[in-house]
């Protein structure tokens, strides 16, 4: 099985914020913390495009590289998670992340930062599955229930896809072929790496 991946199809996203609401509701995320949000480019101009953004669970995650207390780990499914008990709230991960995924609750005085919170791909965290602690710290553990992240499952236009990378890529490929446009995948190159030679062609007679 490939790794778990998110893919947002900008041709389909209608900026309904259903994914944001689903995430908030599923994980009971507090005010001021947005694990997922919808960004619109050229808002109000004909041809505007929207994309749903959250942690992309990068293959070579910058947050993991910069964390001074090494709270991050990657699961066997490629989901980047962290142990909140060890987070010191320094904010390095926020500056390192190209997607603005790490969030910090600001509940104290003088804008004091709390422990980092981010999308978990609805995979919980390093606590006992379905325990009160896991839900309070990390939110719902849908993967352990055999489900996909709530944001993707809630998406009405299926712009946001989640799950096994191969399956997600297959679905998107079918879609692009059917509509004949919109093959640009926002964020994938940054999160999962770019091909060494993007202009490479398969040898003649080879299967694609």
């Amino acid at each position: 099985m490939a790794r778990m991946k998110f893919l947002c199809d900008a041709e389909r996203c209608i900026e309904c914020n259903g994914c944001v609401t689903a995430c908030k509701q599923e994980n009971e995320v507090p005010w001021g913390v947005n694990r997922r949000r919808v960004v619109t480019i050229n808002d109000g101009v004909p041809g505007e495009k929207s994309i749903s953004v959250a942690c992309m669970h990068c293959s070579d995650a910058p947050c993991m590289a910069v964390c001074p207390t090494d709270v991050f780990y990657r699961t066997e499914q490629g989901v980047v998670l962290h142990d909140k008990d060890l987070c010191i709230g320094c904010g390095y991960c926020f500056y390192a992340c190209p997607f603005g995924a790490p969030q910090f609750p600001q509940e104290g005085v003088f804008g004091m930062r709390g422990k980092m919170d981010k999308c978990t791909f609805c995979a919980g965290g390093p606590e006992k599955d379905f325990s009160k602690d896991e839900f309070a710290k990390y939110g719902s553990n849908r993967l352990a229930q055999g489900k996909l992240p709530a944001c993707a499952e809630m998406c009405s236009t299926k712009a946001l896809l989640a799950g096994d990378g191969d399956t997600v890529a297959d679905i998107f490929r079918t879609r692009v072929v059917k509509r004949g446009k919109g093959s640009e995948v926002w964020g994938w190159g940054t999160a999962y790496g770019k091909p060494d030679n993007p202009n490479a062609q398969p040898p003649k007679g080879a299967k694609s």
Binding site: D70, P126, D129, F130, L148
Partner: protein, 86 residues
């Protein structure tokens, strides 16, 4: 043993216990090892029983990674509406 002796003995026992209890304290400071995950270990999603949570429709066998992957892949494919319309 006289009453005074018993009280004295009890006092010594309590004092000794309180002194020794300090030896059982664990360090509350994390010793960091650079570049290595320092936190608690996590359980794997296929370790749970499918019925461990409410409203679970996916079926797999607990601790069987392959069956869990099949369940997730089936669920992922459900996102392709072309499968439903054609």
């Amino acid at each position: 043993m006289t009453t005074t002796g018993k009280v004295l003995l009890a006092g010594i026992v309590v004092l000794a216990a309180s002194l020794v209890s300090g030896c059982g304290e664990r360090s509350q400071v994390v010793v960091y090892k650079s570049g290595k995950y320092q936190g608690k270990t996590d359980t794997r999603p296929w370790d749970s029983e499918p019925g461990a949570a409410l409203y679970t429709t996916s079926k797999w066998t607990a601790v069987d990674k392959t069956s869990w992957e099949t369940a997730i892949r089936t669920r992922s494919r459900g996102q392709n509406e072309y499968n439903r319309t054609e």
